[in-house]
């Protein structure tokens, strides 16, 4: 290490001796360049730039020089000190950069070691699907209504024009509540919410209901004793089946793809007249594959029932059927989820195996 001894034994350098000044500069530059660490640089700096360094001493000596020599000596020493100062600054920056780089390298980790300290939970995919469908309805300006699951027969059947003796009332595989004359059932459809909404909110009315319904079906791959429906009811002046179809087409294209439309087929439901079954354009083959397994080659997939609200329903709910018309529709949310995700065994929907939900994100 050059110049270490200089601290103990200061070297006098005359400000008038250009060679000595030069030598001092050269010594300083060599010492800085030779410093391999910030500590060494600090020592070299003390030796060559500190109070007792040759250049500092030379600088101090300028004051004692004759006035004629002062200017030149001052200029010479000043330049030398400037040179040394720049060199130390440069080396300092270099060594700091080296150190920072080294530390970042030393601190590197294996980012592919993925921790599973506390995994994220999940919403149930059926709930998310229902939420998505509800949001679509809300986006169209509808509101979401709700009702109880243990429901009065009047709301589930009578108000909806299911006559007590009509075979349709027997076709619903209803859970009845004891005693026999309780007048209560587990709602077989979300439609009782139609009646509740009309009575509570009046008309015009655009409501949808997302909810759980019950039928006496044993659990298997295609049946559940409890499942989920989206129900829509619009009552206003001048509504027609064209408005029904427009609403269904919008739902279908938003949920299953731009070119997915619906088809109406004549059918029967007590609470609508005219009534229709609604089919969805097959979202797998779009009607182009006679061998398609999703639609059995028909190009259409059954999605739900719909129609114009029966006059008896409007009357039962205190709405003037001569002034207002309405349309209603209902479809399975569980099935919509199956369509969207290719899920095929309904048992997985109700069993609550946490691995089922874990396949999906928080947006369906």
């Amino acid at each position: 290490m050059s110049g270490l001894n200089m601290q103990d034994d200061p070297v006098e350098v005359s400000a008038l001796d250009p060679a000595a000044i030069d030598q001092a500069v050269q010594n300083a530059l060599a010492a800085f360049a030779g410093a391999g660490s910030l500590d060494e640089l600090k020592a070299a700096r003390t030796a060559h730039q500190g109070d007792k360094s040759p250049l500092a001493l030379a600088n101090r000596g300028i004051g004692a020089l004759p006035p004629t020599a002062k200017a030149e000596a001052g200029k010479r020493v000043g330049k030398a000190r400037g040179q040394v100062g720049a060199a130390v600054k440069e080396r300092q920056a270099q060594l700091e950069a080296d150190r920072d780089r080294r530390i970042l390298v030393e601190e590197s980790v294996d980012v592919t070691m993925i921790p599973a300290r506390r995994p994220l939970g999940r919403r149930h995919p059926v709930e998310l699907m229902g939420q998505r469908m509800a949001d679509l309805m809300v986006g169209m300006g509808w509101e979401i209504a709700e009702g109880p699951e243990v429901e009065a027969e009047w709301f589930n059947f009578d108000a909806l024009n299911f006559d007590i003796d009509h075979p349709a009332r027997q076709m619903q595989d209803t859970f009845y509540v004891e005693p026999a004359d309780s007048g209560l059932v587990l709602r077989t459809q979300t439609s009782p919410v139609q009646a509740r909404a009309m009575l509570e909110r009046g008309v015009p009315l655009y409501i949808a209901c997302v909810g759980r319904v019950y039928r006496t079906d044993e659990l298997d791959a295609t049946h559940m004793p409890a499942f989920h429906q989206l129900e829509g009811l619009a009552v206003d002046e001048g509504l027609t089946m064209a408005h029904l179809k427009g609403t269904l087409d919008r739902l279908a294209s938003e949920l299953f793809g731009d070119d997915i439309t619906t088809r109406l087929r004549p059918s029967f439901f007590p609470f609508t007249e005219p009534s229709a079954e609604m089919d969805l354009r097959c979202f797998v083959c779009r009607g182009s594959n006679p061998q398609c397994r999703s639609c059995s080659g028909t190009g259409w997939i059954e999605w739900g029932g719909c129609g114009m609200v029966n006059r008896n329903v409007l009357s039962a709910c205190g709405v003037d059927p001569d002034r207002y018309s309405g349309f209603a529709f209902g479809m399975g949310i569980d099935r919509a989820l199956q369509f969207r995700t290719g899920q095929s065994d309904m048992r997985e929907l109700i069993e609550g195996d946490v691995r089922f939900g874990a396949q999906f994100g928080m947006e369906i």
Binding site: A116, R117, P119, L120, G121, R122, H124, V126, A134, M140, G141, P148, E149, V150, A152, W154, F155, D158, N161, F162, D163, D165, H166, P167, M171, F175, Y176, V177, E178, S182, G183, L184, Y206, R212, M224, A226, A234, T240, M241, H243, K245, G246, D249, R263, L264, R265, P266, S267, F268, P270, E273, P274, M308, N310, C317, I350, G352, D353, V354, M362
Partner: protein
């Protein structure tokens, strides 16, 4: 309803080349949904062949195959013999067989092509019955036409598809409850005509024209319904005809048996088969009585108290006063009208004389009897959906014709036709209504045209149309019923798609948003949402430590549960969520964190009877209130269950099992997510551990719910691992409480000054109590208080514990001095001391 296409062709001009799928597609358009097409699965060349040569060739695998040349006429396009390898051995040279040629397809989508096998190119197959989807012909190998169809006059090259009946197809359709008339070939044929424009021949017209009028010599029938249901006579028409001297040996001919079989009914005997055939053809259920068993006139009346009848299914049935009976002389019950006959008057193998009943029974009467006796017979299915009252004489005539023609019987000259069914009432229809409801422009001519096409009489003289529906359409009552007819006959595919423009909604309700927030907050903390069926048992309530009596008083019982073991609706979500926890664990998921948001029953007081009322009637307000009040309250609960580790072990360090504090923290987090102050106190409520059960409440004291560790007995009884923790809270309470906006407070920016205190209290004093008094003692400048340590052991007396709190103070308008803060801290400690006996630890 199964519709044999060959039978359908008798009544409507189905195009020759139309196959089952085409017929089904046409019927769908008018609302008869396809359930399936049966038969007709063989396509392509299937022909008669004559075996010219047959050379047995033993193979290395031990089998012997026959290399045959078969004459298939010109069916193969060349007229040359066809070379075919056949593995069967039950045939000889010169025999006629059935050959499928390349290009054909057999049932199961099995495509036939020429292929190399056993050193030859086999250009087709000699067929066995099962390969063609036919029943076993007993040949034990390939079909030999000489055995199967001895009388058939066939030659090589003839099409074998019609020969074997393989072209017969049956279309199965779903008939909605309003279309009773489509439970007949007559009805389906009419609908096919509507869908396609094909020519329809109503078979009832000719039969009705030939049916003789009622006369004095007819068998005496009296209609004596003294208790009509809903104002409708139980029987408003009864036609009776008698055929005598039926040949006991006469069998049902193959064509009729085939039609019945294809329609899904089993041939039994000629008389029974004829009644079923007529029902399928015309939709009119018939009943045949053995005339020899009848003593007096037929009297149709309601059943008497205590009366019994042994029905055809060999069941002795106690009759209900609402049941309508066919009786012998008014005394002896012969049949439940329109539902099922009795054993005593049944047509048997020795019956030669039969009385054909072709009657019209009231839909409600039949529906109720069928339901009450759990007898969903073919006849009942039709009557409860509505049968054409004008079809009765035609149906009786067809039965008579068939029994005379096929059974060699003689028809009595006496004809009975009593009763007078009401004629359909005219419906007023504004001709613009179809356009206004459907959204398609229909002209008045369109509307009138459709209505006449479906059989209505339309009077166009007034402003509104006056429409009398045909007798076979009892489902048409109102103007919208007629609108549907116009829409469906004109085609639903003409309806345009127009998005309605609602007046603008208010978005989700507060409650709906809260439920999303709660579920999302829990999912973000590692819990998976599940849902469960809400059915439980008394045993489950006992296992959870609930009082079974009290639990039953809060809920309702299902009259027809899926499982007799689970007849009750749940009163807590935990009671069904535990099954999901157990299922996950049994499937090898050790660490489970789940939650469910769902409804529970919370009935208070006696279960009320919810009134029902006739359809189409707006009940009085007090009736509606009573109906609503009878529906038991069903609050929405949140339940949580955690088992195993809530923080997993791994390369990063140790894991941490879920404990009671996780359950408490999760419930607190739900409160925090809704900016609600939810207080905690110790409680002892099942299903929780009595020393590890937290009770949550709102500032006004409203109960929110409980959380903690499950009682060890509960875990044991339900087969759960030890120390499962959970919670059950009422979300509706939180929804209600969070409906107000939080009032914003300014955020202080002066420095925070902290002071720590350690307080020694009795073990029975809870942290929540100490914290509450520290807060009130410290005053408004206290910004935060944190329990950062607890201690029990040598440094404190037995029966005591030390709680260490960090109090953080800050003022809005200045930097607090140490002196100020010490004063506030001392006040807090003093307050804790006087309220809980806390002593500052030094």
């Amino acid at each position: 309803m199964r519709v044999p296409v060959e039978w359908l062709r008798e009544y409507v001009a189905v195009p020759k080349d139309a196959r089952g799928v085409d017929v089904a597609a046409s019927l769908v358009q008018v609302g008869l949904e396809e359930e399936g097409v049966h038969g007709g699965q063989v396509t392509g060349p299937l022909v008669v062949g004559k075996v010219l040569t047959l050379d047995p060739e033993p193979q290395k695998n031990g089998k012997t195959i026959n290399w045959c040349s078969v004459d298939v006429g010109a069916a193969n396009g060349t007229g040359e013999p066809q070379g075919i390898v056949c593995g069967a051995h039950n045939f000889q040279v010169d025999e006629l067989v059935v050959v499928v040629l390349p290009g054909a397809e057999l049932p199961g989508g099995f495509a036939i092509s020429a292929r190399k096998t056993y050193g030859h190119v086999s250009a087709g197959m000699i067929c066995a019955a099962d390969e063609l989807g036919l029943p076993d012909d007993g040949s034990g190998g390939i079909i030999r036409l000489a055995d199967l169809l001895p009388s058939a006059d066939v030659k090589p090259g003839d099409d074998a598809i019609p020969l074997l009946g393989l072209d017969r197809e049956t279309v199965e359709i779903n008939v909605t409850p309003d279309r009773g008339y489509c439970f007949s070939l007559r009805g389906v044929a009419r609908e096919y005509a509507h869908a396609t424009g094909a020519e329809f021949t109503d078979p009832a017209l000719d039969l009705a024209a030939r049916a003789p009028a009622s006369n004095e010599a007819g068998y005496e029938v009296r209609l004596e319904d003294d208790a009509p249901l809903r104002g409708n006579q139980g029987c408003d028409r009864y036609v009776a005809r008698i055929v005598r001297g039926i040949d006991l040996t006469a069998a049902t001919p193959a064509w009729l048996a085939t039609r019945l079989t294809e329609a899904g009914m089993r041939p039994i005997s000629l008389a029974v088969d004829v009644t079923n055939y007529v029902m399928l053809a015309l939709g009119q259920p018939l009943h045949a009585f053995d005339v020899q068993t009848l003593q007096g006139p037929i009297v149709v009346r309601r059943a008497r108290q205590g009366e019994k009848l042994k029905t055809l299914d060999d069941v002795e049935r106690a009759l209900y006063p609402e049941d309508l009976l066919i009786t012998d002389g008014g005394d002896k019950a012969l049949a439940i009208a329109g539902v099922m006959g009795g054993e005593d008057s049944e047509v048997t193998a020795s019956t030669t004389d039969v009385l054909i009943e072709s009657a019209h029974f009231d839909a409600t009467t039949v529906a109720r009897s069928s339901r009450r006796h759990k007898l969903p017979s073919e006849a009942a299915r039709r009557f409860e959906r509505g049968v054409d009252p004008q079809a009765a004489p035609a149906a009786a005539q067809l039965a008579v014709d068939l029994l005379v023609q096929l059974g060699g019987g003689n028809v009595d000259q006496g004809v009975t036709d009593v009763g007078a069914p009401p004629t359909p009432e005219a419906i007023e229809l504004d001709p613009t209504l179809p356009s206004r409801l459907v959204g398609v422009d229909y002209s008045t001519d369109d509307v009138v045209g459709v209505l006449r096409e479906i059989g209505c009489e339309v009077d166009t003289s007034g402003d509104a149309l006056s429409v009398v529906p045909p007798s076979w359409r009892p489902d048409l009552h109102t103007a919208p019923d007629l609108v549907e007819e116009v829409a469906r006959i004109k085609g639903y595919d003409r309806i345009p798609s127009i998005l309605p423009t609602p007046p603008g909604g208010r978005g989700l309700t507060h409650g709906q948003r809260v439920r999303r927030v709660v579920a999302d907050a829990l999912a973000a903390q590692g819990l998976s949402e599940v849902w469960t069926a809400p059915f439980v048992s008394d045993e489950r309530h006992v296992a959870l430590g609930y009082d079974a009596e009290q639990a039953r008083a809060r809920t309702v019982r299902i009259a027809n549960p899926l499982s007799e073991q689970q007849p009750l609706m749940r009163i807590s979500v935990l009671s069904t969520l535990v099954d999901t926890l157990r299922r996950n664990i049994s499937r090898g998921v050790k660490d489970v964190a789940i939650f469910e948001l769902g409804l529970v029953l919370a009935r208070e007081g006696e279960q009320q009877h919810a009134l029902t009322s006739p359809v189409g009637v707006h009940p009085a307000p007090e009736v509606l209130d009573a109906i609503r009040a009878a529906v038991p309250p069903q609050p929405r609960h949140l339940a949580i269950l955690l088992s195993g580790e809530t923080e997993h072990a791994g390369w990063w360090g140790a894991g941490r099992p879920a404990d009671w504090s996780d359950a408490v923290a999760l419930v607190r987090s739900v409160g925090t997510a809704l900016a609600l102050e939810v207080s905690v106190r110790a409680d002892d409520a099942m299903p929780f551990h009595p020393g590890r059960c937290a009770c949550f409440a709102l500032p006004d004291g409203t109960l929110v719910g409980h959380a903690g560790e499950l009682h060890p007995k509960v875990c044991q009884a339900l087969g759960l691992p030890a120390r499962v923790v959970g919670a059950e809270i009422d979300v509706d309470v939180l929804i209600h409480a969070s409906d107000q906006a939080v009032v914003s407070r300014p955020i202080a920016t002066y420095p925070l000054v902290q002071s720590d205190v350690a307080l020694v209290v009795d073990q029975s004093v809870t942290a929540a109590e100490v914290e509450a008094v520290l807060r009130s003692g410290a005053g408004d400048l206290l910004e935060q208080i944190v329990l950062f340590d607890t201690y029990q052991g040598d440094q404190v007396e037995d029966g005591k514990k030390s709680l260490a709190y960090r109090l953080s103070f800050r003022a809005l308008d200045r930097t607090l001095t140490t002196q100020e803060v010490n004063t506030l801290r001392d006040r807090a400690v003093a307050a804790a001391g006087s309220a809980t006996g806390a002593v500052q630890r030094t």
